[in-house]
Amino acid sequence: MRRQIHRAPIAVATALLLGVFATACSTEDPTDGGTGSDETTESSESPDASESPTEEVEWFDQAVYDEQFDQRSATFEGDSETPYLQYIDGEMTDTSEFKSDGAKKACFANASISNPWRQTGWITMNQQLKALQDDGVISEMETRDAGDDDNTQIADIDYFISEGNCDAFIISPNSTAAMTDAVERACETGKPVVVFDRGVQTDCATSFIHPIGGFAWGIDTAEFLIDNLEEGDKVVALRILPGVDVLEQRWAGAEKLFEENGIEAVDYFTGADPTEIKKIVTDELAKGDVQGIWMDAGDGAVAAIEAFEDAGADYPVMTGEDEMTFLRKWEETGLTGLAPVYSNFQWRTPLLALEKIFAGEEVPKEWVLPQTPITEDERADFLEANDGMPDGHYAKFGGEDLPGYPEVWQERQIP
């Protein structure tokens, strides 16, 4: 991740170490260099991702796009008070074979907790664990953190399989293709396997839990900007890094809509570094008016807004995320905004899924959770509900009824 952040060092390193290669590259189509190496992590949630309709937007997948477009307005089963248990009606997995009494040991292979979204979810998951331990459903959860590394996570999963003494596996894959084999090995043990957040290219898991997805994010945000801007307006898109499917799909969806609606959009990779974000926005403002800001994650939103303040420019129409830092700045500035959500409460669902599985209740094969952006009208409620939470907290974390609320989240007691 660090590598993407800093342009100069990469530049120097690439240039010095791979001088010849770099020269060769420079004559090629730019998109080749950027996405070629990420071919392997291509879209998880789309087994049929092989068809790339356009040459420019390789992450775009019309079928998945259409599916997620519809899912945004789909009816979710279950109580909207407990969104982390809601799902879109579809194929269910029969879990009667797993039905058994007694507390079970869960083994969790986590990709990382290296961003505030994952940290918030990780805190929530641990409080959910405490609740289930008190209920006698789960005895313990052994967790291995792969630190954003595919190889580490494969080793973690293999360790769990051979020595973990696990009753069930929870896997939050670091990347899509690389983790597929390891997940299949976990499935072969015959124990329940729950995959959540990013997907893998196999449907062997008992349940795959995720919010609607990246395209839905892209559609929600782009439609909001298009509605609030004029044709020909300029939108600066701030993206964290290339090559991660959930992030690429957000941009692929938004970019398509911007193009179709005559919005001029230019995208940058920022590594979520606020210094980069502020410089980029400042330069764009120096060049001409910017009417909109689009982000593929809210981390660093404040720096973008501050660039407008420091340049004395009018606030943009902006889409951030449900991170508190953005919600607060949004309210403070009164800008026209939308907070898209990549439902953080999904971190509760895997353990609750295990509870159902060991009770022999059927669970959705693909458990699609609701993913509803926070609008300006709802903002005040979420700010009030999350009063006292730190800036890196996510408003739709969904853990209000868990033990330790709110201190554990306020203190960010990361286990």
Partner: protein, 374 residues
């Protein structure tokens, strides 16, 4: 405009210290410009013209002063890196020091106004301490500085991860952030004079004075030939340790400015060490030590930032932007190296000015007049 102001500042240094300072100002200016330390100012001017060409509003004073303000942290870091490089070492811990300071500012100050001053003292203390560790391990333990500072980089990086879990914490109180974000309002022409510009100017003047002091001369001597410097009576270990302290303190100042400019995030500052080294090399300072101007290092930083802004204005595709940057940097350094070989020739003939030699420390005339070259 910055070209107009920066070229004289470079040439002023050149004019002041060039031993063969005969000839008109113009001749001396030209002579300075074809040295590597001077060539960077030409590069700066070219890039500036290119940026203004692409985006004319960039040349307006309010825009320009803001650009200088936001470049101040990297320019200050580059000057800090200069001390270490000119003494023949590397400091790779710079980015990690910045990140540490940024996180300390966020965690320790928080929203408590009364902690601003203690925090500043604490940060400077930590900065100095990191420099002492780097310096002593390099000089007394004789571990190559590349490895020592790589070690401190990792150690501090781990500390930052521990303190933050790898993600942003809240920003410190606004009054602290004003150092890097605010400025003196209602200045004629400029509109606003950002505090970072003032801090940069103070650091630049102090650096020039420092390099003209006995410490500065000894530093360059120690970088050029540590054995000779030691035989001449210099405490090389202490001189180099102080260079590391200056580097870490510069990183601390850069960190304080960056907290104000952008806010707290563990990714702030990472990569700064390489950016600073690139800036120093662009400024014609010789890796391995003993040669180069401190202001050229700062100019190198400005050239780098201008290049980034140029690419922003050109809307170079985000995916292959690093490639473009890399190629331009190689070309610029190659051009600088060319200037080197041109710059050397006149200085060979300058041998006849021995009395001027001691005054010549941080100048391009040194190749001819001091050790190492002949």
């Amino acid at each position: 405009m910055s070209a107009a102001t920066s070229t004289p500042s470079g040439s002023a240094t050149a004019g002041r210290t060039l031993p063969l300072s005969e000839g008109s100002l113009l001749q001396r200016l030209l002579r300075g410009a074809i040295t590597p330390g001077g060539a960077v100012f030409i590069l700066l001017a070219v890039l500036f013209v290119a940026v203004v060409w692409v985006n004319p509003s960039f040349g307006e004073p309010p825009q320009l002063i803001r650009f200088i303000g936001r470049t101040a942290p990297i320019a200050i870091a580059a000057m800090g890196q200069y001390y270490v490089i000119v003494s023949g070492e590397f400091d790779l811990s710079m980015g990690a020091v910045i990140a540490t300071q940024v996180v300390i500012a966020g965690n320790y100050i928080g929203q408590d106004e009364s902690r601003v001053l203690p925090a500043l003292a604490l940060m400077l203390l930590i900065g100095a301490a990191v420099g002492v560790v780097n310096g002593l391990a390099t000089t007394l333990l004789r571990v190559p500085s590349f490895i020592v500072t790589l070690g401190t980089m990792l150690a501090l990086g781990g500390l930052v991860r521990y303190l933050t879990g790898g993600a942003a914490t809240g920003n410190p109180v606004d009054s602290f952030r004003q150092i890097g974000r605010g400025g003196i309002e209602d200045v004629p022409v400029l509109d606003v004079l950002p505090y970072p510009v003032i801090i940069l100017a103070v650091v630049a003047v102090a650096s020039v004075l420092l390099m003209r002091s006995p410490f500065g001369r000894t530093l360059i001597a120690a970088g050029d030939n540590p054995d000779a410097a030691g035989l001449a009576g210099a405490h090389v270990w202490w001189v180099k340790t102080r260079a590391f302290m200056l580097s870490s303190l510069s990183a601390t100042v850069a960190g304080i400015l960056l907290v104000g400019y952008a806010g707290v995030h563990p990714s702030v500052g990472s990569g700064y060490e390489f950016q600073a080294i690139t800036a120093v090399v662009l400024g014609g300072v010789v890796l391995g030590g003993g040669r180069g101007w401190v202001l050229s290092a700062a100019a190198g930083a400005f050239a780098l930032e201008l290049l980034f802004s140029f690419l922003n204005f050109q809307e170079v595709e985000s995916t292959w932007r690093p490639t473009v940057q890399g190629l331009i940097i190689i070309l610029a350094v190659a051009a600088g190296a060319r200037a080197w070989s041109y710059g050397r020739r006149p200085s060979r003939t300058a041998e006849s000015a021995p009395p001027a030699a001691p005054a010549a420390s941080p100048t391009p005339a040194r190749p001819g007049t001091e050790t190492g070259e002949n």
